[in-house]
C-alpha cells in the first residue's frame, strides 16, 4: 500500500523547491493561497502496493456540501517520461521518485498555476474531454452564477425548476441536495440580484473551507459575478 512516508519522499523536494505548496490531507499537496479553485497534486494509491497514481486535480471551492479535503474533481494522470524504462509509477523502481518530482514540476504545477482563476477553469469545461462535468446541471448553474453569466444560469434553473418545485422525494439525499441548491438561488437569480448571489456563494465557500487544514491559506476574493459588468 502506498504510504504517507513514501508520498513524503515526493512532496518534500517539491515543497523545498517551490513556494506556496502545502500538504493538507493524505496524498494531496495544494497550491496556495487558495481562492475559488482548489489546485492540487494527488499521489493516489492503487490496488497494488507497488503502484501509485500521480495526478493533478482541480475543484471549485464554492459548491455546497463538498469535502475539499478528499474530493478530487477534474483530474489528469501524469505519465512517466518517455525516457523511462518503466511505464507505470512503481515504488520499487529506483528512478520513480525523481521522475515524479520532475513531471510534477514541469507539467502539473504550470498547468495548475494557469488554472487558478475561475475563468480559466471554466475554459477547461468547454474542452470536450471534460464534458462530464458540464453535464452536472445544478453545479454547472452555480458555476455560471459565479462567473456572472446569469442568463446561462437562469436557463439551467428554468430547466431544473419544474422537477424540483415540490418536495417529491423527502427520503432521497441526492434529490434534497439538488433541490436545496436550486431553491437557495431562485429569488436572487431570477431578480438578477448579484450582491445577494455573491453572499450565497461566499457563504458556501466559507462553509467548505472553515475548520479545515487549508483555512489558514484561504483568501476570500470577489467572484467574477461581482466584478463583471452589468
Amino acid at each position: 500500500m502506498t504510504t504517507a512516508r513514501q508520498i513524503e519522499r515526493i512532496f518534500a523536494p517539491l515543497i523545498k523547491r517551490n513556494e506556496g505548496l502545502v500538504v493538507s490531507s493524505a496524498g494531496f499537496i495544494w497550491l496556495t493561497p487558495v481562492h475559488h479553485v482548489a489546485c492540487r497534486v494527488l499521489i493516489e494509491r492503487s490496488s497494488d502496493a507497488d503502484i501509485c497514481w500521480p495526478q493533478w486535480a482541480l475543484l471549485h471551492t464554492f459548491i455546497p456540501g463538498w469535502n475539499l479535503s478528499i474530493s478530487i474533481g477534474e483530474r489528469g494522470q501524469l505519465q512517466r517520461p518517455a525516457s523511462s524504462k518503466e511505464r507505470f509509477w512503481r515504488w520499487s523502481d529506483p528512478s520513480m521518485i525523481d521522475d515524479a518530482v520532475s513531471v510534477i514540476e514541469t507539467e502539473a504545477l504550470p498547468l495548475l498555476h494557469s488554472m487558478r482563476k475561475l475563468e480559466a477553469f471554466a475554459d477547461l469545461f468547454e474542452d470536450g474531454d471534460y464534458r462530464r462535468r458540464r453535464e452536472w446541471p445544478v453545479d454547472r448553474m452555480i458555476f455560471e452564477i459565479a462567473l456572472g453569466n446569469l442568463d446561462a444560469a437562469r436557463a439551467i434553473w428554468h430547466g431544473l425548476a419544474p422537477d424540483n418545485r415540490e418536495n417529491r422525494h423527502p427520503d432521497s439525499d441526492s434529490f434534497q441536495q439538488t433541490r436545496n441548491k436550486i431553491l437557495a438561488v431562485a429569488d436572487p437569480l431570477l431578480a438578477g440580484d448579484r450582491a445577494a448571489l455573491a453572499t450565497i456563494l461566499h457563504g458556501w465557500e466559507a462553509a467548505n473551507i472553515r475548520g479545515t487544514k487549508i483555512e489558514p491559506y484561504w483568501e476570500p476574493t470577489p467572484f467574477p459575478l461581482e466584478t463583471a459588468p452589468g
Binding site: 493524505a26 490496488s47 474530493s71 489528469g76 474531454d129 453535464e135 422525494h169 432521497s172 441536495q177
Partner: protein, 351 residues
Amino acid sequence: MSRLDTRRQRLAAIRSDLAELAVEVELIRVERVLARKYSPDQPREPAGQPGGGRWASGHGGSDGPATMGSPGSHDSPATEEVVAEDGSRVLSLRIRSHPSQDWDEQHTVTAPDGTRTVFEMSGRTQTVRDGETGEILSRSTLSGNRVEPEAFVQDARAPHPPGKAKLAELAEAARTLLSVLAGRSGSGDTAVFVAPASEYISGDGPNDPVIWVGGVDQDELDNACPRNGEVQAILDQSAAEVKAWGHFTGPQDYGNKVHALAAAKIRALQDPNLVAETSYLANPMPDVPYGTLGSYRLDALENTIPTTVCVYDHKTGDRGLRPRRAVDIGYMVKKNFPHAKNIILIEVRPR
C-alpha cells in the same frame, strides 16, 4: 462457547434450513408446472435410437412437450443449482414448450435470509416475481443497449410501486444472478445486468422497476458496450503479465496486482470515456482517492454511447470479493455520468 455464539449458530442453522426448504418447495412447484405440460400418454422415442426414451417431438399434451436439460447444451434441458459466495442460492431451469422453440429459463434466487426472487426469461422478455407471492415485480424486454418496460396486470392488493426495500432486494437478487450466470462457461454468451440509470437514485425511479439479467451474444454486447473487447484484452494482458512476473503472495495479491495493472493500462489511454478505478462515497460528492474510508470503487466505466454507461467488474479468481451492491454501483455511475439513461453491468474474467 458464549451464549451469543450459540445463538448465532442456531440462527445460521435456521436460515440454512429455510433456504433448503425454499429450494425444495420450488422444485415441487416446477414439477407441478411440468406435469401440466407433460402428457403421460405422449409417445417416446424408441429405445436404442438417438434421444431414446425422450418425448417424441410434435406430439404431446395441451401445451406440447416440455423438457429440462443441461445448461450450455443446445439439445438437452437442464436443472442447475449454484451457491453464491454470500450464501445465496440460484436454482436455474431451462424449459421449452416445443423442440423448435428457443429455451426459456427460470432462475430462482434465494438470498441468505430466505427471500426468494424468480426471474423468468421468455425470448428477450424477462419477468421478475416475488418468490413468496408470485407477484410480478418487473417485466421488461432487452432491446439493444436498453430495457423497455412491458405492461403487466398488477395485483390490486400489492403495494404499487414496490417499496424501497423490495426494490433493493430485487436489485441484489439480480446482482447475484449476474454473478452466477457470468461464472458459467460454455454458452458463448456474456451475462449482463441492464437497468435504466434512474433506477438507482432513490426517489427518482419510474413507477415500475425495470431490471434485466441474462446472456447476450457478442454482437449484442458489441452494440451495447463497444469497448468490451478492449477491456477484456486489457484484463487478459494484465493477468498474463502478473502470472509471468510471478511475484505475488497468493490469490488476493494476484487479484490486486491484476486490478492495478489493468487500471494502469486504461488510465494510460487518457480517455475520459473509459475510466478506471474510480471511488465514491455514498453521499453526493465528487470522486475520492482510492481507499478512502467508506468509499466504493468501480473497476472500469465506459461511456462510448452517450446515454449508456457500461460498468466492468473485474473478477480475477473463483473466490473474489462479495459483489458490490447493485444500488451502490448504479448510484456511483449516476454521479460520474449524470446524463446516463442506461446502465449495463458486466463481470469480466481473464481468459
